[in-house]
């Protein structure tokens, strides 16, 4: 409800004076921004403002990135990174959402487990890379385990927050009509918490990608799979910054595509929600 009240004045406020660019206008301006940045970086390299020994020219990084797209080994590593992300996120959502619903609907259990959660959550998941690599060895199982440990917290916390936010009147009404507690969760709590859960999953996805690549990078020299391992292997020889930056570019594209994908899915699944708030 708060979003409707806060969205309304924004629409008539600062935007009213200026003409707001449309969708196409925003895309065009964004493209101008990107092109401007690339040109500036290229010019700085060519004019010697940035030493070429430290950072390669933008054009050579872009060209190398194009070449990487046709490199079988790099594509296999990209696939391995994507696979670990997908497996890790699937487990994260399959465990995190039901657990969040459980803890959100049973305050007694939540209070009792809070101390454990508060001690487990702050352990940075990269701290577990070495332990898990000794336990499981590099590979998909290891990457997925670490992803689940790091990514489950945003999903869990956002699901609990979403369940807390459920309108108690709607819930009581549903129960007054004789539906069971489980039905009330399925029909009232989950749909109402869905936007929160969606945000949690998007946060989790970016953490998952960082862990995915960090795991590959640290265990990489022992021939682990993934973009992280690819970058680690490229950086062990003579410092080959061009390849590393080109691979980084693809890693960024991957992060962006996954985020857009999740946003798209969320929008599609939650169309009713956006419609209710009067958003496009």
């Amino acid at each position: 409800m708060t979003s409707t009240t806060s969205a309304a004045p924004a629409a008539v406020g600062p935007a009213a004076g200026q003409r707001r660019p449309g969708r196409a206008g925003r895309w065009a301006r964004g493209a101008v921004g990107v092109a401007g940045f690339l040109l500036l970086a290229e010019a700085a390299g060519r004019l010697g403002l940035i030493s070429r020994a430290a950072l390669p020219l933008t054009s050579s990084v872009l060209w190398r990135a194009v070449l990487l797209a046709g490199n079988g080994r790099f594509l296999a590593d990209l696939g391995a990174t994507l696979e670990a992300w997908a497996v890790g996120m699937a487990i994260t959502v399959a465990v995190g959402v039901p657990l969040g619903v459980l803890l959100g609907s049973l305050p007694g259990v939540r209070v009792a487990t809070r101390a454990i959660v508060e001690f487990l959550r702050p352990i940075p998941s990269v701290a577990l890379i070495l332990l898990v690599s000794l336990l499981l060895g590099p590979g998909l199982r290891m990457a997925a385990t670490l992803i689940v440990y790091g990514a489950i917290w945003p999903v869990l916390y956002n699901t609990i927050a979403g369940i807390d936010d459920v309108d108690p009147v709607a819930q009581e009404t549903h129960r007054a009509f004789g539906f069971s507690r489980f039905d009330a969760i399925w029909a009232v709590s989950l749909p109402s918490a869905a936007p929160f859960i969606g945000t949690g999953i998007r946060l989790a996805s970016s953490v998952a990608l960082i862990l995915d690549i960090a795991t590959g990078y640290i265990t990489g020299p022992i021939n682990g799979p993934g973009i992280g391992a690819y970058i680690a292997q490229q950086s062990t020889g003579a410092s080959n910054t061009t390849v590393i930056l080109a691979a980084t570019l693809w890693a960024g594209v991957l992060g962006l595509v996954l985020d857009l994908l999740l946003t798209g899915v969320q929008r599609r699944l939650l169309r009713w929600h956006h419609a209710r708030l009067g958003e496009p």
Partner: protein, 263 residues
């Protein structure tokens, strides 16, 4: 016993039960990968907290590794905040500039910063500079993007009122825009704090000659499992304390905001 007290007790009872169960399981299983919690705590005490009283009981190992790690986290977050908040307020108040920069910002946020570590190693060489650069580059985006959001959603009525009272521009920024952007900036900062710990450990694992990550990689190379577990538990405790610290700061700075909302 009151209900509140009962809840408080149940929290600790469950935690203690878990630790006792862990202790019993590890002493029964005798796995070299899972040392008993008592052994881990003992090692932590020996390693870091058995120093002289003059050094607050910290050993030389603790001051030589824990303090540099914490210093990197604080320095990285301070620089990221010093860049992210002013820039975020400026961009949040100029939607035209934000439209041009938006794709670049979204890309930078989506970039998994760990891939940049080898580039930073080339640029800054191994050591503290490279570690701080990694933390700054990774944590600045949540702070920046959230501050943009916060500054863009200032209540226009408040701004118009300030203008009507002929408040000078910088006073409007300090008294109207900054307070309105702060809650969002804090939300970004909370995300950056947990990211900064991840990046600190990562950067120290990749290339450092001191710090908790460095100790961790030593422990792993010598297959000293109790040592490795001790560093993991230490990081958990530090993460917990930093989060509590941030929670306290948030209550202090944003107290007015939550009381406003409660009305």
């Amino acid at each position: 016993m009151s209900r509140k007290r009962w809840r408080w007790a149940s929290r600790w009872v469950v935690l203690v039960a878990c630790v006792v169960g862990w202790q019993l399981w590890t002493s029964a299983a005798r796995s070299s990968f899972f040392p008993a919690p008592s052994a881990i705590v003992d090692r932590m005490y020996q390693l870091w907290f058995s120093g002289p009283a003059a050094h607050v009981f910290l050993t030389a190992d603790a001051t030589g590794n824990i303090l540099p790690s914490l210093g990197r986290v604080f320095a990285g977050l301070a620089i990221a905040t010093a860049i992210g908040v002013p820039l975020g307020i400026a961009l949040g108040r100029s939607p035209a500039a934000t439209v041009y920069l938006n794709p670049l910002l979204q890309f930078a946020r989506a970039l998994p910063v760990v891939t940049m570590a080898p580039v930073f190693i080339v640029l800054f060489k191994l050591g503290t500079q490279m570690e701080i650069a990694t933390i700054v580059f990774g944590t600045v985006w949540p702070i920046l993007l959230n501050t943009i959001d916060g500054a863009a959603s200032v209540d226009p009525v408040q701004l118009e009122t300030a203008r009507a009272f002929k408040m000078p521009r910088w006073e409007r920024v300090v008294w109207v825009i900054v307070p309105a952007a702060l809650p969002k900036a804090f939300a970004g900062f909370r995300l950056s704090l947990s990211l900064s710990l991840i990046l600190m450990v990562f950067a120290e694992l990749v290339g450092s000659s001191d710090g908790i990550g460095y100790e961790m990689s030593n422990a792993s190379n010598s297959f000293d499992m109790t040592f490795l577990w001790a560093t993991i538990v230490l990081l958990g405790i530090l993460g917990f304390l930093l989060n509590e610290l941030l929670g306290g700061a948030e209550r202090l700075v944003l107290g007015w905001h939550t009381t406003n909302r409660r009305d």
